[in-house]
């Protein structure tokens, strides 16, 4: 095309210049101008793979560089995100050690000018922290123990025993996990405020919400069953080989002995996961305790007491004291996480595999 339009260069001349072919015969020129006719020295042949004018070595190098750049970006992203994730914790600690004037000054400091421990002392003096933690632990431990018992029994029945309607019952239990808990809270509140309660010295009382023992019962009993944990433990029980069961039967062990002597010890990791997750759930529970402990502030759990405390006379929040209390609530959870990280992450991770 270009030749036709401009006529600027001769095709033959161009090839001659390119291959320094001046002064050779027409035939030679023709042969040598086409590289495919050239004699090939196979002993010195080299395979060159090219992609966009880069050979394999260059390509590998480029790939390596790209990989390093990718890693740098990935690490930078992960570090950035972990700073975001951790920053609230850092700020919580820093704020708890600052004075109110420093917290609310226009020039924020990333480290307290003078480290102040008085916020923590104020928490213990003005806020019945020990009582609330005691309440929470009591509720947490008893509801967890109850949950473990019902869960072990139910999981055993579903995993090992054979009975009419097993599949249907299990499907119904799983279906209840789809129902939002708010549906239950409404009626459960009515139920516990109307159920009879026997109080020593006073006889039968109507309602669970006016007496300390019954309020605690109201915080514990409805949470003795967890379908999700039944599912989790059943899956675990099912993995235990049948041969063990048959061997136990040959040895003359009853189902009851088999459950406690073989299955429970083998499923210990799952049981520990359930125990810790349930305990953390009690520590973090807010909605239900908030509803049932309205008659006496002394019966509240730690999370309920936390919110709405520590405002000064004009209604402004005392952030330093608030953060000190928040740390006291958060640290036990973090300690649990440090010591039982494996169990917690495994228990939570199972949730996803289960679906």
């Amino acid at each position: 095309m270009a030749k036709q339009v401009t006529g600027a260069y001769d095709d033959r001349n161009f090839i001659q210049k390119l291959f320094h072919l001046k002064g050779k015969s027409e035939k030679q020129r023709e042969r040598e101008a086409k590289p495919e006719y050239q004699a090939i020295d196979t002993s010195r042949m080299q395979l060159v793979i090219k992609d966009r004018a880069r050979n394999a070595d260059q390509l590998a190098k480029a790939q390596k560089v790209a990989h390093i750049i990718f890693l740098v970006i990935t690490y930078a992203f992960l570090i950035f995100m972990s700073v975001i994730v951790l920053f609230p914790f850092y700020w919580m600690v820093i704020t708890s050690l600052k004075s109110t004037t420093e917290i609310r000054s226009l020039h924020q400091t990333f480290f307290p000018q003078n480290v102040l421990w008085s916020n923590y002392i104020t928490v213990f003096n003005s806020f019945d922290f020990v009582t609330y933690v005691g309440n929470t632990l009591l509720v947490g431990v008893i509801s967890t123990a109850g949950t473990l018992v019902t869960t072990i029994f139910a999981a055993f029945a579903f995993a090992r025993l054979n009975f009419t309607g097993k599949g249907a019952l299990f499907a119904i239990l799983l279906a209840t996990m789809m129902i939002p808990g708010e549906m239950m809270v409404i009626t459960n509140y009515i139920t516990v405020s109307r159920l009879p309660w026997y109080e020593f010295g006073k006889g039968m009382q109507e309602g669970w919400l006016n007496n300390k023992d019954s309020v605690f019962a109201a915080m514990i009993v409805p949470f003795w069953v967890s379908v999700f944990y039944i599912y989790l433990l059943r899956q675990n029980f099912k993995q235990i080989p049948n041969e063990l069961y048959l061997a136990a039967k040959v040895d003359g062990k009853s189902d009851w002995q088999y459950l406690w002597k073989v299955m429970v010890p083998l499923a210990m990791p799952t049981l520990i996961s359930i125990f810790i997750l349930k305990l953390m759930g009690a520590w973090n529970s807010y909605v239900w305790p908030n509803l049932v402990t309205t008659s006496n502030k002394e019966w509240r759990l730690v999370t309920n007491a936390l919110r709405g405390s520590f405002t000064n006379s004009s209604g402004d929040p005392e952030y330093g004291i608030q953060m000190a209390a928040t740390i006291l609530v958060t640290v036990p959870l973090l300690l649990l996480f440090i010591f039982f990280r494996k169990y917690i992450m495994r228990g939570v991770g199972r949730a996803g595999i289960k679906g």
Binding site: F70, T74, F77, L78, M81, S82, I84, V85, L86, P88, W91, M92, I103, R104, L106, Q108, V149, T150, F153, A154, N162, F163, T164, G167, A168, F170, T176, M178, P180, E182, M183, M184, V185, I186, T187, N188, Y189, I190, T191, I230, N242, L246, D255, N284, Y286, L291, T303, L306, R307, Y319, M323, V329, T330, L333, L334, I344, V348, G349, A351, G352
Partner: protein, 365 residues
Amino acid sequence: MANEVSKPKRRFNILSIFRRKERVSADAGERNNWKAWLYLAPTIILMAVFTFYPLINTIVIAFLKNYDYISQVHEGFTMENFGVVLGLVGRSEMMNADGIYESIFRWNCTRFESDGVVGIYLNSEGVVSRAYFTMNVIRYAFPNTLLITFITVPLSIIIALLISIGLNSIPAFKKFFQTIFFIPYVTNAIAVGMVFAVLFDYKGILNYLLGLGTLTWIDQAAPAWRGMIALCVYIIWHSLPFKILIFLSGLQNIDKQYYDAAKIDCAGKMKTMLNVTVPLLSPQILYIMITSFIGSFKEYTSVVGLFGQQGTSPGSYNMYTVVYYIYDMVNSNVQYGAAAAVLLFLVIMLFTAIQFKVSKTRVHY
């Protein structure tokens, strides 16, 4: 459910559970009915009282007129509770001889824009009446809940996906980062909400770092959209760890062969991510989508944590959510709470059904 998801050949059929299978297996042995039911008795009794009965009872309460839960008195069945929740029906209350207002429904009143008492008047017999609408749900709770859902769910899924793909592709410090990203999971929603309240304070660190002066985010004077931003940031922060954990366990189960095949085909990192990783992770993404949709429809403790006991600035319902309304009504007008709970239940069921339907075509098993 994921079991069914991951094994397409064994589709779960609801009828199959009623079909009695005559299996002869070593573990089953003979049917020991009474023994099994004995083991199940604690679970079944507790669930009957605290799960199955409440489920039915709440639905019944949603249809009761002027239900008083203490005396268990009501005035028959009605649909009006739903109308009140949706702001379609105004209520007028009449003071009785004891000086207590008794509510009466009035259909087809003109709708009022504001919430609360519309007017107090004396009728011909000299009885004090007052008329009012409950507009909180339709004006604040539903829009807020939908907003929270449609902002936080996609954003947190994308961020969690990026983080977990990043975590999966780094050679070192994987466990270290994984632990850091899991920490928000083991925190108290109320406590950390209070920390975020400090961060978003008008004299707080966020304004200082971004150079925004004394911009209000969560205070009474703050506009609703800024409160919503603060709330969404907190919800996303708090919901990341669970998602990352699930995505990461899904990523670790993906066969390396797929990536080798993608490499041979000269697929770039981006292409590999979009065409290999995301489709193979789709069961986990579906699971996370459903659970986080349900979770964000029920957002409550994050609101309490961030905005305080009243949940919103006093007297205003800027950050009201549906579940907030339900818990507000438990003590006073339980029938409206029940009606809202039933509506919430239906909406959640609808969304879950839609997602399952969509997933049938989109989810790669």
